[in-house]
Amino acid sequence: MKFKMLLALILLCFVSAVSGFGQSAEEIMALPDSMAMAPPAPPSNVRGVDTDNDHGHSITLTWETSPDDGAGLNNVIGYKVFRAESPDGPFIERALIPSGGTGHIDVGAKEKDANDYLPDHVGFYYKVRAITADSLIYAESEVFGPVQSYGQWFNTGRVPVLVFVIFFLFVTLFFIQKAKGGANLFVRRLAGIEAVDEAIGRATEMGKPILYVLGLGTAADIATIASYTILGRVAKKVAEYQTGLIVPCYDPIVMTVAQETVKASYMDAGRPDAYYEDMVYFVTQSQFAYVAAVNGTMLRERPATNIYMGKFYAESLILAETGALAGSIQISGTDEIAQIPFFVVACDYTLIGEELYAASAYLGREPLLLGSLKAQDYAKAAAIIIAIIGFITMNFGIEAFKHLFYVSN
């Protein structure tokens, strides 16, 4: 019985296979009308314009979706965008957009020898195809064109940024001039920076070194540049008090600049003989290997003070907690928002965000530096006023004020 059933099954498979034999793929796909999927309605109103505020080689396309996209026959699964240099083709596929999509930015290369080259000032023709799950069933829009791409000389979408930069520059220059004229500019107390002197004094009393960590930033990071200034001040005090200084670096370029900064500070303090190059040294550019090395230094040398200033990532808490375990006074400062809470928890003093940048002006007390700090305060006041006006206007449904600050790419 079992054998007969097996034989019947094999026969059935054979008959099914033979019934399709000799037919082309298209013939097999071309099912009777009653079974075939009906083609969808094509997308309409295809339009193309040069992409705004760019350097050319880009065309922005828009269209209205097919009525069968998400409704009607509901068989549209996406759109294919085609481009040609003449309305008769040949058309080249440029993009595949999921269903519901109503636009695409066709960006080409600007180099002539690139495969994807899209020349400026040349007319192109576009059509959009609504596609279904069956590759043979689709509907195409009418051909739109010609449309040309060209570059602009000024990005009007960034006017608000330009206005802000000019405003800030003028306010800065105004306060610098005012400070030069002898005006007394008040700068609020920065506890973290004032603690530096106390921490260096403690290290001197204990006969222990100070560990200064510049973070994981490169020499191009603003936070690292701000950190150099603080390092310079710390090194000068260290040289005066004849305390030890350890600066392990993550980046070789940062190390070179830090060496120069510390050397200059020792010379300023009149102790060039006390400076030796090995106090600023390179460790590694591997994040956690660096942490392991610095933690090892903390636990072996037991520095009296640890100062972390610059850019920090996941290693911030590992460093600061190890420092706390080693019993060091810890002062930190970073502009990485995600790491600030870790430093606040694990360190004795923390410079939060902008305070790191303000520290150099605060330490220097020079009119030029204080002037820029004052300008920063006024810009902050302006930001608060704008935020309040924005809050009021939005609550009254006035959108125009919000649009004043809209910045495009």
Partner: protein, 224 residues
């Protein structure tokens, strides 16, 4: 002159890059200069490697305190350098990629460096616990508010938080712990973060102006 030339270069390049933000044909300048920086950075590797060897060989030579760590550092450095440079154990030979599948360099990296790095990263879990213990002690009013906020957020992220307050009617759903947690994160927490971000943004612009105008010169190794 020694100071003036770098300051002029800084001003010129900095101003050019600021202008390029507003001029579309100049947008690619930033990438070009980043490329130059990368080229310089390659030479800095020699600087870093040289410094590392000098410091640790000095410690080894003088048998200074903890010289054993220097021995491990120099040995590890030399091993990776030799294996990588001469493509030792690389199935594709000297012409193959340094990270080719099955190469000794790749194995050393994958089976020594990566696990060691992960181990250090894993320590974070313990440090978060110890830091949280210190942070969430109700020592004063601010710390108590922090403790309550943290407790609501921790509870709100667990099914237990939902279970505890699911009986609260829909009209008062804001009082359900998960919704309270969402409100704390999207309201007070986000507002505080944005305030810090605005401050940082202004600080960066201010610092950049100081650097461009030559007021800030610390990066030149000068104490001003």
């Amino acid at each position: 002159m020694r100071r003036q030339v770098p300051l002029i270069i800084t001003f010129f390049i900095g101003a050019l890059l600021v202008i390029s933000v507003f001029i579309p044909p100049m947008v690619s300048l930033k990438e070009t200069f980043t490329l130059y920086f990368d080229i310089i950075a390659v030479f800095a590797f020699f600087l870093g490697g040289g410094n590392l060897l000098r410091v640790h060989l000095g410690k080894l030579y003088g048998k200074k305190q903890d010289w054993g760590f220097s021995l491990v550092t120099v040995a590890g450095f030399a091993m990776m350098l030799i294996v990588g440079l001469f493509k030792i154990g690389n199935p594709g030979g000297i012409a193959a990629s340094i990270t080719a599948e099955g190469s000794l360099f790749q194995k050393l990296f994958e089976y020594i460096m990566v696990p060691l790095g992960s181990t250090m990263y894993a320590l974070l879990a313990f440090f978060v616990a110890s830091a949280s213990y210190r942070a969430f002690r109700a020592k004063n009013r601010e710390a108590t508010i922090l403790l309550i906020g943290a407790f609501i957020i921790l509870l709100g992220r667990t099914p237990f938080g939902m279970m505890l307050t699911s009986w609260i009617p829909e009209q008062l759903s804001i009082l359900q712990i998960p919704n309270l947690a969402i409100w704390i994160m999207n309201g007070p927490n986000l507002a505080g973060q944005r305030a810090i971000m605005i401050g940082i943004g202004l600080g960066v612009v201010s610092m950049s102006i100081r650097i461009l105008l030559g007021i800030e010169r610390s990066y030149l190794g000068e104490d001003k």
